[in-house]
Amino acid sequence: MLQLDFWAMGCQMRAATEVETTAAEWALRAIPAQFELWEGRLSRFRPDSELSQMNLRAGDWVRVSGTLYDLIQRAREMAAATEGLVDPTILPALELSGYDRPFAEMQPRELRPAPPPELPAGLWSSIELDPDRSAVRVPEGTLLDLGGVAKGWAAAKSLESLHSNGPALVDAGGDIALAGPREDGAAWPIDVADPWQEDGRNVGQLWVASGFVATSGRDRRRWRTKSGWRHHLIDPRSGQPAVTDALTATVVAPDWRAAEAAAKAALILGRERGRSWIEQQPGLEGLLLLEDGGIVTSSGLDQYQWRAW
């Protein structure tokens, strides 16, 4: 098995293929450059990125690349599927909450000004798309953030390029795409990080033959303000960081959009409603790690040999 570890999009990435041919190695080695290209196009922290340029023209129709168009289209689909719980128009609220620069540039425990009381998002349904001309119009007064969508999309895209050679895996900072089963017929082992520990420990393990695994959480990318701790997962209903009893939510799904959207929606909804929401979605299983240390799993998670340590 060939395995490539690299850094992109502010996260540690991993790609692996079971096929050790020259073609497979080339495909593997090409992945970091793809991520760099996508990050340059989709990062809200780069003023010259296509996303930033498009945000500057909110209210106008602009032509965009196929990459950006595809991402925005997927983000809209995810918002519709979650009734707006996963909303790409939360960026103004996110920035006002304090996350207005790359997280690595935010000082640890930095005491930032208290954010305004509320700034609802919810403008996702007003994003207009014209497929014939690959054009987009973002509603005036809002901005798009595709950070949560881009990693899942990138993992899925990268897996496509590897999968033609055989079983493969792409782990984009915890958003995982799997093409399998492996050559011996076994599934891939997926460790679930322990959000209560910062020493790399895991809370359990899943075995997934193929599909997607995504985790959303408020255990990372959080900062302190004069009105308390804030985190990066905005609840579009309030325009504020989500108030929830869940610390992280992990979802296994056959589709990367479903995994991404469901993990975030479940986290925002919390213990009871989050689990219930996952169970209502066909083909989805998942678990929520709670603030009080508890673990809640969907009824069918055992099919992935879930085992808590």
Partner: protein, 112 residues
């Protein structure tokens, strides 16, 4: 020159002459004052909305579309990110430990 004098310097005839000149140039009130023969040569377009396609034709492309993403496999180009390629053992088909390390080809899901 006093204000009164300046006002007096434009007589009625001069104003009319100026308006006539402007009318000929087609600038008064934003409307062209055309003679009958000119109107025949340059018919006025009906007041219809601009077709949508024309608006899009002028849309700026923010960043040129890359060619590398959808191109067939090419030898790898140098990348700006440090990367480590390793040949690893297949992951063992048994649970790994709480501290991770499920072997090669394992992954770890977490919030990011």
């Amino acid at each position: 020159m006093t204000r009164k004098n300046r006002r007096a310097s434009f007589g009625t005839g001069e104003v009319k002459a100026l308006l006539t000149a402007l009318a000929v140039a087609g600038t008064v009130g934003g409307w062209a004052h055309l003679t009958a023969s000119e109107a025949a040569e340059e018919p006025v377009e009906p007041a219809t909305p601009t077709p949508l396609a024309l608006q899009f034709a002028a849309l700026p492309t923010l960043v040129p579309e890359p060619t590398a993403i959808d191109a067939p496999p090419q030898p790898p180009a140098p990348t700006p990110t440090a990367m480590v390629l390793r040949r690893v053992d297949n992951p063992v088909s048994a649970p790994s430990s709480a501290s991770g390390g499920g072997g090669g080809g394992s992954a770890r899901t977490r919030s990011s």
